[in-house]
């Protein structure tokens, strides 16, 4: 019953099953089914061996890392800040903290069943499960357009170069999905530093030169 851990430097291809608690800090390609608490740390990754969806099942699941696959818990699922889940969630109690990303079907219907997984429900969910992995390869990419909107700078002064800077801003924001909130805060004072100043100067010079 001792706690188990899959460390950062460890990759498991196949199935992990059993009793007790499990913390995943490394990578699992396949299925994880434990009877205790299952944690996926920020460095943890769970996918299937063929690059599709894996599955996680436990009494309680806490995710801070990335999971491509369905999560099913008898008691509760909690997605912490920085969690990225591409798949369906099913548990009597589900929590998603700010900064947790999900793309999939979320269901708390299991409450009545009290941990029991009825065949009808799993059958109802499975078609969606099948379609989920195909929809988006990377959850990171799905999110940025939404996030990028927040720190977007105020409308730049009318200039011929106006269309370019927003593209750059979006590109900068993209890798920092996990720190979406801080980025937004950092983004706010940005207008004080005129992003277009250099380009605008050049443009003005060019304009003057042209005249």
């Amino acid at each position: 019953m001792s706690g188990s851990r899959i460390g950062r430097g460890t990759v498991i291809r196949g199935a992990v099953r059993g009793e007790g608690d499990l913390e995943i800090e490394g990578r699992v390609e396949g299925i994880v089914e434990v009877e205790g608490e299952l944690g996926v740390s920020a460095s943890g990754r769970v996918v299937s061996s063929d690059g599709g969806a894996g599955t996680l099942s436990a009494r309680r699941i806490s995710v801070s890392g990335a999971v491509a696959g369905d999560l099913s818990a008898q008691e509760a699922i909690v997605l912490e800040e920085g969690a990225r889940v591409l798949g369906n969630l099913r548990a009597p109690s589900i929590g998603i903290r700010p900064g947790g990303l999900v793309k999939g079907h979320v269901s708390t219907e299991g409450a009545a069943a009290h941990g029991g997984r009825t065949q009808a429900r799993s059958a109802a969910v499975s078609p969606k499960a099948a379609s989920a992995p195909a929809r988006a390869a990377a959850p990171e990419r799905a999110a940025p357009p939404v996030r990028a909107a927040a720190p977007a700078r105020p409308a730049p002064p009318p200039s011929r170069q106006a269309p370019r800077p927003p593209t750059r801003a979006a590109a900068r924001v993209e890798p920092a999905v996990e720190q979406a909130a801080p980025v937004a805060r950092k983004g706010a004072p940005a207008p004080v530093m005129p992003a277009l100043k250099k380009g605008a100067k050049g443009a003005m010079k060019k304009q003057k030169g042209a005249r």
């Binding site: 019953m1 001792s2 706690g3 188990s4 851990r5 899959i6 460390g7 950062r8 430097g9 460890t10 990759v11 498991i12 291809r13 196949g14 199935a15 992990v16 099953r17 059993g18 009793e19 007790g20 608690d21 499990l22 490394g26 396949g30 434990v34 061996s49």
Partner: protein
Amino acid sequence: MAGTIIGQGIVIEGEVTSDEAVIVAGTVRGKLTVDGPVTIEASGVVEADIGATSLSNGGSITGNVVVGDRVDLLSGSRLVGDVKSARVTIADGAMFKGNVDMDS
């Protein structure tokens, strides 16, 4: 405490690859490849070929073992399979069936 711990009651079927210390108190079936020390606890059962820098076996191993540095078969342990390692110790009370190759 770094590394990977496969606790008692946990069964892994498949391939385990790691570049850090691995402790097995549960069961591993398939393959265990570690760039680091491997420790099999008394409760550990490994039905897999093992590759590691060193191996300490207190449990049960069925499979071939290729280790860079040393293999220690502790008292009460069991190993069925061939061992290739520069250094091998077999404690009194360890069960071992297989060939030993100490060519380095």
